[in-house]
């Protein structure tokens, strides 16, 4: 590997339940203008932006080739533009590959998702299932997650009380995170009294409908000083796609997450994730996923999630100090939100929850039902 990659700037709007008074183009525009202002990056074809990677979803945007609707506001006209239609953390991986390969020096990554536009988020995710064996049964990401939650709780003894603790902590941390969705603070008792939606998942165990947009400017390390004096390096990325059918998978085996981590850890030179990761951001669309994914990335052992929680693992390993996806980020952008928070922590601008002496963070994203696809990004000071 002859090159290194840095994030030079990140810009985001606030995560909100419904940004009805702005089009998603307007949401992106605000991020885009902030990146221009922060970095003074230009569109000069010799020294400026020549390639943009976007992340969006056709069904959430209710138009196919959803990127075509945003290329003008993200400065992609008359240059290269590629779209990632899965969790946007893969857009960061893709942008990294563009730079590492020498294809370009500078890549803009822009992602948006406005979950509030559709009448039903579950109807959107139902469309991700095949029309023959799965879609007619009403499978969606929520009820598919319920199968995984039950399997995990049966295997490990994770209880409703553990899940309540995760929700309470998520909302407390979310309240300390700039741009996080504003949610009511709740007690464990209130979480345990919230209605079951797909047993064993309760309403408060599932992330709320959220709208958001974010942008990142990535650059080869040798030119990063042109755009920032506080870059954050990207030193590892890995991804893996598990089997499609839920019945083909062992829902608690971490098959894809372990493979994604192995690739990212090898690239970043990590041999002991439990000791070498200072901050961890996991894409927990549902509360049970926080300990499940913690096992998968290797900061605790297989089926040890509940014990790890009881021993203070979440705080010890600085897991989801942002509030996590559970506090509210839209689908498609869960992993980008994790990376955005890791970036602010490594820049030292995370506010009340700032960790001192931070060197290395992991950001995680998932795509598909019950974590079919996992991607892991390593960020370093």
């Amino acid at each position: 590997m002859t090159r290194n990659v840095s994030i030079c700037a990140m810009a985001q709007i606030k995560n909100q339940p419904a940004i009805w008074q702005h089009r998603f183009q307007g949401m992106l525009m605000e991020c885009f203008e902030s990146i221009m202002e922060q970095t003074q990056v230009t569109f000069d074809m010799d020294t400026g932006l020549r390639n943009v990677v976007t992340c969006s979803d056709d069904v959430f945007d209710a138009r196919t080739i959803s990127d075509a609707a945003v290329t003008d506001v993200v400065g992609a006209h008359f240059r290269g533009e590629e779209k990632v239609a899965q969790d946007g953390i893969s857009a960061l991986g893709y942008a990294m590959a563009c730079i590492l390969s020498g294809h370009d020096d500078l890549i803009l990554v822009m992602g948006h998702c406005k979950e509030s536009q559709s009448e039903s988020r579950n109807m959107c995710t139902n469309l991700s299932f095949d029309p023959f064996y799965s879609r007619p049964l009403g499978l969606d990401y929520l009820n598919a997650a319920a199968f995984q939650a039950r399997a995990y709780m049966e295997e490990t003894g994770l209880t409703d009380a553990h899940l309540a603790d995760i929700v309470v902590r998520s909302r407390q941390n979310g309240a300390h995170t700039r741009h996080a969705r504003e949610n009511e603070q709740v007690t464990a008792k209130e979480v345990m009294a919230s209605p079951l939606v797909a047993d064993p998942i309760r309403q408060m165990h599932h992330y709320p409908v959220t709208d958001w947009a974010v942008g990142f400017l990535l650059c080869c390390e040798e030119r990063a000083h042109e755009f920032t004096d506080n870059p954050v390096r990207l030193t590892g990325f890995g991804s893996c796609m598990d089997s499609y059918f839920l019945g083909d998978r062992d829902l608690t085996a971490h098959f894809a997450l372990k493979k994604a981590c192995a690739r990212a850890y090898t690239m970043a030179g990590i041999t002991d994730p439990e000791k070498e990761l200072d901050l961890v951001e996991l894409n927990d669309a549902c509360a049970y996923q926080l300990p499940l994914w913690a096992e998968g990335i290797g900061i605790t052992g297989k089926a040890r999630g509940p014990k790890w929680m009881e021993a203070g693992g979440m705080d010890k390993h600085h897991v989801n100090l942002s509030g996590g996806m559970l506090n509210g980020n839209p689908l498609m952008l869960g992993g980008l939100a994790r990376a955005a928070y890791g970036f602010t922590q490594l820049q030292g601008t995370a506010g009340i929850n700032q960790v001192t002496g931070l060197q290395r963070a992991l950001a995680h994203g998932t795509t598909g039902a019950a974590g079919q696809h996992h991607a892991v990004l390593i960020l370093e000071k």
Partner: protein, 156 residues
């Protein structure tokens, strides 16, 4: 956000509703037409790893073996290995809530299939429960020719 004032903010109501036809694939066609015409659930067996896949597919993803001709009949009876009680209402759901979606390992299969479970109080569903397919009275030409599953024995 900047410019977050709400004057001159008009909401358009729209809807995407586009009929499609989907080719079920040759393996899927055999599965669906056999289900429709004979009320038999078919799987395919990988001769390399001996796993029987339901629903069927033409390649074993682990062994990369071509298994499209390795048809086996599985029983229309099996065990619940996982389930959820759906308590929210939505247009894509096949039943009004509360109803049960279960992962059912049919006898003779190695991969559980997901389907609707009826004939039992949703709060009484347990892992290992023996269930059998109830076929729809008239064909739907889809997987829903299995209308649902229900317990073989009276629940306790």
């Amino acid at each position: 956000m900047k410019n977050s004032e709400e004057s001159d903010s008009y909401i358009i109501h729209g809807k995407l509703a586009l009929p499609y036809t989907y080719f079920a694939g040759r393996t899927g066609s055999t599965f669906l037409t056999t289900l429709r015409d004979q009320r038999i659930i078919m799987g395919v067996k990988c001769t390399a790893c001996n796993r029987v896949f339901v629903p069927p597919r033409q390649t074993c993803e682990r062994c990369m073996a071509d298994i499209r001709s390795q048809w086996v009949t599985v029983e229309s009876q099996g065990k619940v290995v996982n389930h959820t009680v759906i308590r929210y209402q939505d247009k894509h759901l096949p039943r009004k809530p509360p109803f049960v979606l279960a992962m059912i390992l049919l006898n003779g299969a190695d991969t559980p299939m997901t389907h609707i479970l009826e004939g039992v109080n949703p709060d009484r569903v347990v892992k290992g429960m023996e269930v059998a397919a109830v076929f729809s009275p008239a064909t739907t030409n889809t997987l829903l020719d299995i209308d649902h599953f229900e317990p073989v024995a009276e629940p306790p």
